[in-house]
């Protein structure tokens, strides 16, 4: 039951209705029941793994909080990490080292395992309190708006809001409902209108790259990053919107990454919940930038290799991580030099830097999207060869569809630009939108809603394209 399945709107409406209608004390139980039902729709194994990880990490957390000595606390921390992120990374490493070997996995594991690990680490460092209530902890790991593909939550962000909702201190507010629903509509538009259409063409390029002309492979490879962006940002907006309808204000997972002017900034804007998790629980514990340049480079490489491994048990993901680690290292080493040029060129310079970062990020994503590292290099080789072959319109995606994709991308990036400017002025896209007169706002919402409905028809009678990040 993903966000675009026919059942989801009914499930969500029912969950929201029951959540706000029951007494505040029962809200946690409603969320847990909804989370269990939601995960059960992905199969008994997924539900059992979620239950196992939740129970184990909750118990290790209690043990950790109750332990008197540092050594005992460390034992509980290690046990907890092994039961969550440790198992996740070990599974990916085993599958990478021994192709064909598949260890037990489950839908959403990559996300809630990191959530559980961060909870235990935060309890260990005293950053957050231990959660004694199993019910509340289970709501934290199984919170259905984000259990499938994040954003990866943090205990100190989630539990205070849950406590406030269960204590009746936070009520259902029209402004939050409106904001949540409009955010969800935007997420659906990103996924159904943009990502699915773009992915259809990009997937065709990746499937037939040996027959495609060099320019087609180049554009297909570079546009994989855009298709991933609209897919995952769409999912994230759906998750944030659904959470807000349920009274939770979660931190954004994407902040217009293609407007970044450095790769470091790109990672502060792309999949923020994972980037910050890697920063807080891998990069900084390794020493971050505090132990000299060689160690910093080493830490960056390790962090991005871990990121690559988190994404999948394939050498292409590790190579993608390595590329980013190297690019970040070069960025760190050349920072003093680049600082001199950072003010050059005015607006043109800003856009030139954005373009360079987009090319670097999407160039690396070319490997990320390939089913194997060999294909990634094969595609690069084909681009370099300038080989002739299939054209842009020879891949089963019509000119009408491609024209619409281009139009939709122009609209989406224009909105990103408005959001970027709004943020500079201390506002946001939603605030700008809601400040528009009703005569503009309502028709705009109607057009968006009808466009989403029309493009949802692509999913009818076909295997719906799953959210890309659900596979991790």
């Amino acid at each position: 039951m993903t966000y675009y399945s026919l059942v989801f709107p009914l499930f969500f409406a029912l969950a929201v209705l029951v959540f706000w209608l029951v007494p505040p004390k029962a809200r946690g139980a409603v969320l847990l029941a909804a989370g269990v039902l939601y995960m059960a729709s992905f199969g008994a194994v997924s539900l059992a793994v979620l239950a196992g990880v939740t129970l184990l990490t909750w118990a290790w957390g209690l043990g950790l909080a109750a332990a008197n000595t540092t050594a005992t606390r460390r034992v509980f921390l290690v046990l907890g990490l092994l039961s969550s992120a440790g198992y996740l990374f070990a599974r990916k490493a085993v599958e990478l080292a021994a192709p064909g070997v598949t260890l037990l996995t489950a839908t959403g594991l990559a996300f809630y395992a990191l959530q559980s690990a961060s909870y235990l680490a935060d309890v260990y460092t005293g950053k957050c309190q231990v959660q004694k209530s199993f019910l509340k902890y289970a709501v934290y790991t199984s919170f259905f708006p984000r259990v499938l593909s994040g954003p990866i939550g943090r205990a100190e962000e989630f539990f205070p809001q849950l406590e406030a909702l269960c204590a009746g201190q936070r009520q259902c507010e029209v402004s939050e409902l409106r904001r949540g629903l409009i955010t969800m509509l935007g997420g659906w538009a990103e996924k159904l209108v943009l990502a699915n259409l773009l992915t259809a063409w990009v997937n065709a390029v990746y499937a037939q790259w040996t027959e495609c002309s060099a320019p087609v492979v180049l554009v297909g490879g570079l546009f994989f990053g855009f298709s991933l962006y609209f897919d995952f940002a769409g999912y994230s907006h759906l998750a944030l919107g659904a959470s807000r309808v349920l009274g939770f204000a979660l931190a954004p997972n994407f902040r217009r990454p293609y407007f970044a002017q450095t790769l470091g900034e790109f990672w502060q804007r792309w999949h923020i919940s994972l980037s910050s998790w890697l920063r807080d629980y891998i990069y900084i514990p390794l020493g971050g930038s505090r132990r000299g340049t060689p160690r910093r480079v080493f830490n960056l490489l390790v962090t991005f290799l871990v990121s690559g491994l988190w994404h999948g048990s394939g050498w292409q993901y590790l190579f993608w991580g390595l590329l980013h680690g190297l690019m970040q290292s070069i960025g760190a080493l050349t920072k003093p030099l680049r600082r001199r040029f950072s003010v050059w060129g005015g607006t043109a310079g800003v856009w030139a830097r954005r373009l360079i970062i987009t090319l670097c990020a999407n160039g690396a994503f070319l490997f990320f999207g390939a089913p194997s590292l060999a294909q990634g290099f094969g595609m690069v080789g084909r681009i370099a060869s300038g080989a002739p072959g299939l054209g842009f319109l020879d891949l089963g995606v019509s000119g009408t569809e491609l024209a619409f994709v281009v139009l939709a991308m122009v609209v989406a990036f224009s909105l990103d630009l408005v959001a970027e400017k709004a943020e500079t002025a201390g506002s946001c896209l939603y605030d700008r939108f809601i400040a528009l007169p009703g005569a503009v706002r309502v028709p705009a919402l109607l057009v968006l809603a009808v466009t989403v409905l029309v493009f949802a028809c692509r999913l009818v009678g076909a295997d719906a394209a799953a959210f890309y990040y659900a596979q991790f």
Binding site: C172, V174, L177, R178, L181, L197, S398, T400, E401, F404, V442, L445, L446, A449, V450, L453, V454, F455, C457, R458, V460, G461, A462
Partner: protein, 315 residues
Amino acid sequence: MKAFLLRLAALVLAALVLFCGVLGLSAFAPFSEIFAKLTGSTDYSASASEEIGGHIANVQAADGAAALILGDSVCWQVFDPFSLCNTAYRIDGSNRAVTIAGQYLLAKVFLDAHPGATDVYLIVTPESFSAGFDAGYGYQYAAAPFAAAGLLGGLDETTRAELNAAYGAPFLTGRFARWADASPLVKKLYLNALELAPAQESAGPLVPLAARNLQNLAALCAEQGAAFHLLCAPLADTEARRSTMAALEAAFREQGLYDSYSAYFTETPWYDPGLFGEDGIHFDNTVADMEFYASVVQDIQTATGLLDGLVLSYD
């Protein structure tokens, strides 16, 4: 909160109304093609309706034909090569998805347009007797083209009730059928909705729909003074096909139809399985040509003593 919920409901309703407007628009050029491409509906074209609509137009044509040959795709394969060199015979083999009810309607249209007709032949493989109003091809072949031509009223009450149960009365109107044919998007949504909740279908070698319409067809011919002949289309001589025929024969006997149509079973044209394609039902087009089909028809003529005067050559 109440005002917000009312506004939200109004917005959802307005969006749905506008979406219906899009569905309406999607039936007109150039939007039909644009929406079909954007919604991945291009596979839901009107080809089935055009195919069966062509057969309806053919049998309606006021020509000198005195006999009608109807049937499934095997009948079409064998007899259609001779359709242009026969004026006394109207040859209109279609396919089994049309169902026996559809064949009945084609015969009715022919007999209405040709009051002096002498013979109606139904030449089908056993599969035609198990075809019902399914959610797959049934609507496109057995319902929509006849609905668009305003012919469904010619069916008996029970068959009409079965059609309504399978496809829903509002979707069996000429207006909807033409709309769905003009808009691949509408057809895609409707056919996939059918798949979500398919109607209960009868199964077996001789479904009630086929038995009933076979009898209706015989009665109709008798009423109009034409002879009705049920013949078996050529079959591959395999164990599986023989057992299919045996099951159908048992069903015919059980329903008291065998005596009227015994020729279907006693004069079955069996052929070497090597002459058939991968499906084991149709002749392999790489080995079958006009001459071969002529010999098959001659075999049927010899075995049954029917199809007199059917021209098998363009010379």
